[in-house]
Amino acid sequence: MNTIPIEYYLLISAFMFSVGVTGVLIRRNAIVVFMCIELMLNSANLALVTFSSFLGDPAGQVFVFFVMTVAAAEAAVGLAIIIAIFRNKLTVNIDEINIFKW
């Protein structure tokens, strides 16, 4: 069977990660930034699954489960924080959330 070479998986993982990073760095909407973080997590998951499959080691897949658990928890907490901020400042634009400075 002709398998897709590993480079393809890794490239798409790297691409997804870069999109995530860029999104985190340049987008202003907190929800979108949040989604970009999820994207980064998932790109890492993809890389983990890839290696797990190619090396025949199930540890990588177990790892992914942990990442997904953490991501779920993080999504719950993160969304709660965003809602709390919105209630206080009536905005989710992170440029305006800058009270931690000199």
């Binding site: 760095l25 800058n98 400075k101 000199w102």
Partner: protein
């Protein structure tokens, strides 16, 4: 009872805890006084039983160590809380608890109605606790614990009337002076201890002394150890040059002066020198220094005592002078004579102070003997006991002071030289003179006080009974140390009792003076008759012919003024030590070192950091994405570096 000796230390501590923490709640003077005195009284009984038990032991088993627990153990330093029960420490323990008990009982009457009654008894018990640690400790560290403890109690009790004025300053200043001067001595003592540990690798008395006995040729080391220890002793026992605190210590209540500044604490230095006799004996040069300092202090203080008019001041200088005697004895290698004088002095000087307290008590705290006179008929018991003590301290034949003083004078001649004896005898003459000046001006002659203002009266029984007991002791206390010349073949009982303790030191000093008893008797006759003459002279002058004294003072106006101002020693120290320290502290340490140097360094550091952070704080924009960008850039840089280095 020997193994229960720790109770003599714990009981006063218990008394301190009860009176100190609950005294205010108890409130009842009788209960507080009972607790305070009975703890010391029981300690005395235990010490007495331990003494009897020790007497019944054969001589070579009379040194017992009661170990309680290990205090600290660091490397080769092993300090345990243990108590040494031997001939010397038992004598001291009996003096401390016995005289201490009488003074505690007396204080119940003397301090009656004082607002700090419970505080007084708490401090007194704490003092006994510390003093017992000092005399019973079996190593230098426990001794030092007691040494510092008695210093603290002395400070607390001198400053007991902390809100009152005293002479030119305040009571609090007098207390502070005592504490600071003592600290100077303690510094020497600490250095001595360090040097002992360095040399012998132990601080335990028995170990150190048995090593010192065999160590030969280390005279310089011994010299330094002895010198440092002696500096400590000069501070605690008020010798030249550190005696200045003792006269000021009279700011405390009179029972305190009797207990701490006459009978017990100030003799701690003598005890320590006697305890470390083998070390001092190994350093003959320092031993001579001890003798000379003691001799000079004795003469020096006695001359000041001649002209003072405050009843307690006279007694204070007398104490300094008598302590000088004890060091003279130690300095000529007559350690048991020194301890003997510690004991008899504790009796008669405590009695003198308590008698003075009784007079002061009935004269509404008037202390100037020029405002006394003719008190004999108002307070017969005080008068009688006081005059017995005066006879004892002046060396009237048969009384306790005679035996101890004479033994010291004899040894200062036999082991020392004629000059020692001459100056010692001179001090005895001066002592007899100022004591009878004091007695005459206080109890005889015309009444120089107004009857409207003062109503002299005899003190209550609780005060006079201790006086009577001490008077009896002042008479018979010396009979256990009757010298060989009178007692014949038995020799000196007290000397024989202590002999095993000082045997090594005496062997090392090797004084084998071939002096005959005739010589001793002649010298004794000279000094005693001179003292008797001086007593009679003082009595005659100050009861009938006061104008002679006044004429004398006028004729030698300058000398009189110097004596009245105590040789200006306080002023000298003020100008030579205190002022330079204060001035340099203000001009240099405060205004330059502290304000400019230290503050400059501290503030300068802060300024540098502020200016640096005012630049880099601009990095902190508060925009989370900016932080994330920097983080990413950092991660990228690290990744590049890792990849490139592969």
């Amino acid at each position: 009872m020997i193994e229960l000796i720790y109770l003599t230390i714990l009981l006063p501590l218990l008394g301190f805890v009860i009176n100190g923490f609950f005294g205010k709640k108890i409130g009842n003077e009788k209960v507080i006084g009972l607790i305070g005195s009975s703890t010391v009284g029981i300690s005395f009984v235990i010490s007495l039983l331990a003494l009897i038990e020790t007497i019944n032991l054969p001589v070579e088993q009379r040194t017992n160590v009661v170990e309680l627990f290990t205090w600290m153990s660091v490397g080769s330093l092993n300090i345990s809380f243990s108590y040494l029960v031997d001939q010397l420490s038992l004598v001291m323990a009996l003096i401390v608890t016995g005289v201490g008990f009488l003074i505690h009982v007396y204080s119940i009457g003397y301090m009656h109605g004082d607002k700090g009654f419970y505080r007084f008894f708490a401090y007194m018990n704490l003092f006994i606790f510390a003093m017992m640690n000092l005399v019973l400790g079996d190593n230098f560290v426990v001794l030092f614990l007691g040494w510092e403890g008695v210093g603290l109690c002395s400070y607390l009790l001198i400053g007991y009337y902390y809100d009152q004025k005293f002479e030119k300053g305040t009571v609090a200043q007098a207390a502070k002076k005592a504490f600071i001067v003592n600290r100077i001595g303690d510094f020497g003592f600490l250095l001595g201890m360090f040097l002992i540990f360095e040399t012998f690798n132990s601080l335990n008395f028995l170990e150190v002394f048995s090593q010192a006995k065999h160590l030969t040729g280390a005279e310089t080391t011994f010299g330094f150890i002895a010198l440092f220890l002696f500096i400590g002793a000069t501070g605690k026992s008020a010798q030249i040059p550190l005696f200045v605190w003792l006269p000021d210590a009279m700011a405390g209540p009179t029972p305190v002066s009797a207990l701490i500044h006459a009978a017990t604490m100030v003799t701690a230095g003598v005890y320590m020198v006697a305890r470390a006799s083998i070390i001092f004996a190994s350093a003959p040069v320092i031993l001579a220094v001890v003798a000379v300092i003691g001799l000079f202090t004795a003469v020096f203080a006695a001359t000041i005592g001649l002209v003072q008019t405050d009843i307690k001041k006279v007694l204070a200088y007398s104490t300094v002078s008598q302590l000088g005697y004890m060091f003279l004895a130690a300095g000529v290698g007559a350690f048991s004579a020194a301890i003997f004088h510690v004991m008899t002095h504790a009796f008669f000087k405590a009695l003198l102070f308590l008698g003075a307290g009784s007079v002061i008590h009935s004269m509404h705290h008037q202390q100037d003997i020029m405002h006394y006179g003719g008190l004999k008929k108002y307070m017969p018991v005080t008068f009688l006991t006081f005059i017995i003590a005066a006879f004892a301290i002046s060396g009237f034949p048969g009384l306790s002071g005679f035996f101890s003083k004479d033994e010291i004078l004899w040894f200062s001649y036999a082991n020392g030289n004629f000059v020692y004896w001459l100056l010692g005898a001179l001090t005895a003459v001066l002592t007899a003179f100022y004591m009878f000046r004091l007695v005459s001006l206080t109890f005889f002659g015309e009444e120089r006080f107004s009857h409207e203002k003062y109503h002299p009266h005899e003190s209550p029984k609780v005060m006079t009974v201790p006086l009577i007991i001490l008077a009896v002791l002042s008479v018979i206390g010396g009979w256990i140390g009757i010298p060989e010349v009178f007692s014949g073949e038995h020799g000196n009982v007290f000397h024989n009792w202590l002999a095993p303790i000082f045997l090594d030191a005496e062997l090392k000093l090797a004084y084998y003076g071939a002096h005959s008893h005739t010589e001793e008797l002649i010298l004794m006759a000279i000094s005693v008759s001179a003292a008797l003459l001086s007593m009679y002279g003082a009595f005659k002058i100050y009861t009938q012919r006061r104008e002679i004294a006044e004429k004398f003072a006028l004729k030698f106006k300058k000398a009189y003024k110097v004596l009245l101002n105590k040789y200006y020693v306080d002023e000298l120290y003020e100008a030579a030590v205190i002022q330079p320290i204060q001035k340099s502290s203000e001009k240099f340490l405060w205004k330059i070192a502290d304000n400019k140097l230290i503050d400059g360094v501290v503030n300068g550091t802060a300024v540098v950091i502020t200016s640096f952070s005012s630049v880099i704080k601009k990095m902190q924009t508060g925009v989370a994405q900016f932080y994330a960008l920097i983080m990413m850039a950092g991660i990228a840089a690290i990744l590049f570096w890792i990849i490139l280095s592969l």
